[in-house]
Each structure stands twice: as structure tokens, then as C-alpha cells.
Symmetry: C2
């Protein structure tokens, strides 16, 4: 039998526990070309909200009754493909379930950094780290000396963005919610400045932290924090749009202060970035990130819960801002 | 004596007649390095709104009591500079006045296309045409087969954008206000489709006109028209922000539907463009535009009024959408 977390109903806004159901389904024998993986760690991403929403997104939504789409790390326990052997550790689109039956196209890569925790393949050496590196460099184009502002600065993407910007010679300003995350930004992730958006006066705090304006804004929020950053963009600034965590619902579509005049007057650019477009660059990105982790230049935090029973509330918990580090579920 | 149109008071929103005053001031003898120009044609630009506003803009605003900043074409009538001779036709920052006393840095270029009307140096062979060519190609990056949507499509910038996009092998969809401008878009400027935003159903009309979505959106409005275009952007679309004509005032700052999710989901880009950053490319742009005009591939419309007395209401008239073609004042 295979225990799975399935999408039971289409959520309005952020998915809650009741939108998921845990079911046991029989495992069928493998067909030729298939590989069976015993999942060890399951990933929880803010982007899952989009993967299950009806609203326009970059992929068709998960079908009601299907296992929840998720990245995971697991061990191959059965294989009909000579290139993939029993015992190999792999990461890929294995879903929130005990066992995944996949073809090679669902596998993202072998996990062969045996000196590092395998769970990192879901965070700093996985989609979050790769998003940070490629999004920052391709869409943000940071130059040494630039001031880089990061929202959700203590999150699994944001924390990597801040550190990579630092490695590339930028001044970094992190924005996070509450004193614990702000301290984590400063002490663990090494931001030059860390600001608490839940405290009063984010605008004046940004003015003080960015006397030359904001050259690169890496954003995962699309809400009040962004509205405070946009008027402070420097000439020729680059805004990387990577997530919209501040917006609980896109139906009805929310309004905010218009961005056009800021972008025009500052000759600035705003660019949407989706890492799933760049699987061709994944391996080289992971190699770079792995080296930085080994050298101690790229630090990470993980927030690990146990068991499939943690899955249904995991996404809602992420949006409540409860986690301190990459949210992972260990099986 | 020199008759001048001066900025008499700082406007709230769009400048009206009463914000300007016509005065006569004596001309002083030239200092070394100075050149005196008798203006023949004065330009009226939507961007003038920004040049006189207190709100954040790309240049310091015109000082109260100073002659209104404007591009113009004129003839040199006195010169202390051996490179610039009496009788030369020149275009540059000569202001809304009869005579301009300038140094070479205010001169943009000599006007030597003697086979074409000299007034074109203010429109299709001046700031409007150059904005269209450089904005479209540098920020819009159109590829053959792309669908290019243009707002203020019958305007002096928009009409050139549509025709240049056509020359570059794109499908063009123009959006303009009212049946006269829509007919001008179709019949004079050769848009593949022309839509009337003042009629009902701009959204469905855009859906029909752009079955593959909008690859490039060249915008001069930043209002309701844009809000209708953004949800229809194609994957990897480019939005060129060139003006904000739909917004009467930026104080208080207006709101609109949030753009971030459209840009993220479509991996699209929005980029502010100010042609004044690109004087180094001006001459080569004018050369290209001149060839297209001579070949009959780039058509233009001019809306010419006579006398300095037409100046005070000219900008307000532009924002009332009265003009059919580039607004020019002949002296």
C-alpha cells in the first residue's frame, strides 16, 4: 500500500488542512521504464498555492483527487531503467506520498553530495537555491556595490538571495516579519541591514538603509512591502518578481498603488521569474551552490516536521509565517 | 524684444491656460559662444506635464517665471560660434518663445533634410519618432510575427511605433479613442487592427485581435487601457512604459489592479523608457526614420496652430485628446 496526500477540494485563497485528504492506495507493479522511489523528505513551497489554484498560473492545476504535486528526495527501491539503480538517492517531482512511481522525466537529478544532508536537495541545493541564484543573476543583474533589497529575507529563497548578492559584492538589505526572523537575517544570513516590516516605519527605515536607492529588489510578496520599496528604486533598478506571498487571493483581483510612473521615471524594469523554465541550468547552479555551502559562504535553515500527517496544514502554516527556514517533511 | 510663454504657476494635474503667461522681454547682446535662433515651429509634448510638475520626474521642473521648456525648430539669426552659421536650420531645446539664445549644448541637431518639411524635426524625425524607434527596439525587442499592441496609437509616438513594428515584421494592433482616430490608425498608419477604447468591450476586442496574446505592449497611458492589456500578455511579453497619459494626477497616487501576478505568471517584463537618455543614438535613429519617411513606409500627421497665443492651452488640449497628429505651433 502507498499512503498519499491528495487534493480533496479546490481552495479559495490559501489551502487549509481540509482541502487535503490522506488515503491509502495499492501500489501496482512497475511498467517498463518506470522507477519506484521511497520518499525520505517532502518539500513545502509557497508556490504550491499556485499549483492548486484555478486562477491563471504557469502550469495546469493539480486535479482534484490526485496526489499533491511536490518536490521530494527519496531512494530508488525498484527500477526498470538501467541508468537508475536501486539505492540511488534522487530528487524530483515525487509528490506528497510514501512511494512515487515515476519515469525519468520526473527526476530532476541524482543527489550525490554525500557529505551534506540529503534534505538540502529540496532547499538551498534545490528549487529554492536555484531560484535565488538564477533569479538574482538573470533577472536582477546585480553589480558590485549595488544595494539589493530582499523581501521574505529569512525564507528559503530570500535567505539565499541575500547571501549570493553578498558573495557578488552587493550591499544587502533584508526585510522580514518579526524580531526572530530579523535576527536570523542579521546573524545567520549576514545581511548588512535587516528590517522588520511588522514594526512601524518601514519607509523611513528603507530610506536610511538605502541612501542611494534600491538597485535590485528581489520580491516574493507583491504587497505592502513592495509598495514601500517601489518609490525608492534607483535609476535603472531591476525588480525580480518571484512570488506573491502577501496576496491571499487573486479573485477578486487586488489593487495597489500604480507602478508605471515609478518604472518610467526611474527607467526601471520589473521582470517575472519562474525557475521551472531553466532546468537546463539546474546542474551548473547546484554545483555553484554546493561549493558555497561547503565553503561556509551560503548558510541555510531547515524547519523539519515528521510524517505525512504534517502535510495537510503545512502550506497554510507557511503562509501564517510560522516556519523558521525551509519547510520540509521527513518520512 | 522677445515674446515668451512663461510658466506662471505650478499646475495641479494637467497645466491649463492660466498656468502660463505671455510676456515681452528685451533681448540682450550675445555673449561669446552664444547663438540666437528665430523659432519657426514649437513642439507640444505630453511629457511637458512632467517637466513642470513637482512630483518626482526625470528632470528638475521648470522654474516659475521661466520660459516654458520645449523643443523647437528655428533658423540661426546671429552666431558667435564658427560651427553654427546664420541661416542654418536647427532643432533643440529653444523653449516656447520667439527667439532663443542658446549655447551648442541646447542644440540637438542641424535640420538638413531639405526635401522634407522642417516641422518633421519635432515629430516623426524628432523626439516622437526617435522615442518610437528606440523605445520599441531597445525595451520592446519585437521579433517578426509578434503581436505588438500600441496605446495612444494615433498619437505622434504611437503612430510611429505601429508603423515601425510593421516594418519589422510584426502584427500591429492600435488602441485609440473615438472613430476618427481609429480610422486614422487603420487608413493612414496601417495598423492590422484598430480598436476604440471609448467603445464598449475593449477586453473581448483585444481577445479577438490578439489570439496568441500580446507579445509587446507599447504604452503611453498607464490607466484603464493598460489594465485591460496586462491580463492578455503572452509568455515572455515585454511592456514598454513610455508615458502615463491616462493619469491626470499622481498626488494622491492612484491605484490600479496589481501587475505583479501577470508579470510573474507570464515571465513578462515591464520597462520604463525615457528617450532623453539616448542622445548618442539620436542621429542614427533620425537617419533611419528619414529613409522610411522618404520611402513612404512611415507616415505622419501634424496638427498645426499659429502663433504663441496658441501655447497656453496647447498642453491641456493634448490631454483632452483634441489633436489629430503631432501638435505643433507655427510662428
Amino acid at each position: 500500500m502507498n499512503r498519499q496526500v491528495i487534493l480533496a477540494s479546490r481552495p479559495k485563497g490559501i489551502a487549509q488542512s481540509e482541502n487535503f485528504e490522506i488515503v491509502d492506495r495499492p501500489l501496482s507493479p512497475l511498467n517498463p521504464g518506470e522507477i519506484r522511489i521511497a520518499n525520505r523528505f517532502l518539500s513545502v513551497e509557497p508556490a504550491m498555492r499556485g499549483w492548486i489554484a484555478d486562477t491563471s498560473n504557469y502550469a495546469a492545476p493539480v486535479v482534484i483527487g490526485d496526489v499533491m504535486k511536490a518536490l521530494a528526495v527519496g531512494e530508488i527501491v525498484e527500477s526498470t531503467d538501467p541508468d537508475w539503480n536501486v539505492g540511488n538517492l534522487v530528487t524530483g517531482w515525487f509528490g506528497w506520498q510514501q512511494f512515487a512511481t515515476v519515469t525519468t522525466k520526473e527526476i530532476v537529478r541524482k543527489v550525490d553530495q554525500t557529505d551534506l544532508p540529503v534534505s538540502l536537495a529540496l532547499g538551498v541545493l534545490g528549487i529554492n537555491g536555484v531560484t535565488a541564484l538564477l533569479g538574482l543573476t538573470m533577472a536582477g543583474e546585480p553589480k558590485p556595490g549595488d544595494t539589493v533589497v530582499v523581501s521574505t529575507a529569512a525564507g528559503s529563497v530570500g535567505s539565499a538571495v541575500g547571501q549570493i548578492a553578498h558573495i557578488l559584492g552587493c550591499r544587502t538589505v533584508g526585510i522580514a516579519g518579526g524580531p526572530v526572523k530579523v535576527a536570523q537575517c542579521r546573524d545567520l544570513f549576514g545581511y548588512d541591514m535587516a528590517l522588520d516590516y511588522k514594526a512601524d516605519g518601514l519607509g523611513p527605515a528603507l530610506d536610511a538603509a538605502c541612501p542611494d536607492g534600491v538597485h535590485v529588489y528581489f520580491d516574493n510578496t507583491a504587497g505592502m512591502i513592495s509598495d514601500t520599496v517601489y518609490p525608492r528604486l534607483a535609476q535603472a533598478a531591476r525588480v525580480v518578481l518571484c512570488g506573491t506571498a502577501s496576496i491571499a487571493q487573486w479573485d477578486p483581483w487586488p489593487s495597489g498603488p500604480r507602478v508605471e510612473r515609478h518604472l518610467l521615471v526611474k527607467r526601471a524594469r520589473m521582470q517575472g521569474f519562474v525557475v521551472l523554465d531553466h532546468f537546463d541550468l539546474w546542474d551548473s547552479a547546484v554545483e555553484k551552490l554546493t561549493n558555497w555551502v561547503r565553503e561556509g559562504k551560503l548558510r541555510y535553515a531547515e524547519d523539519i516536521s515528521d510524517g505525512l500527517g504534517s502535510c495537510p496544514d503545512a502550506l497554510a502554516g507557511l503562509y501564517r509565517g510560522e516556519n523558521l527556514g525551509k519547510r520540509i517533511i521527513r518520512l
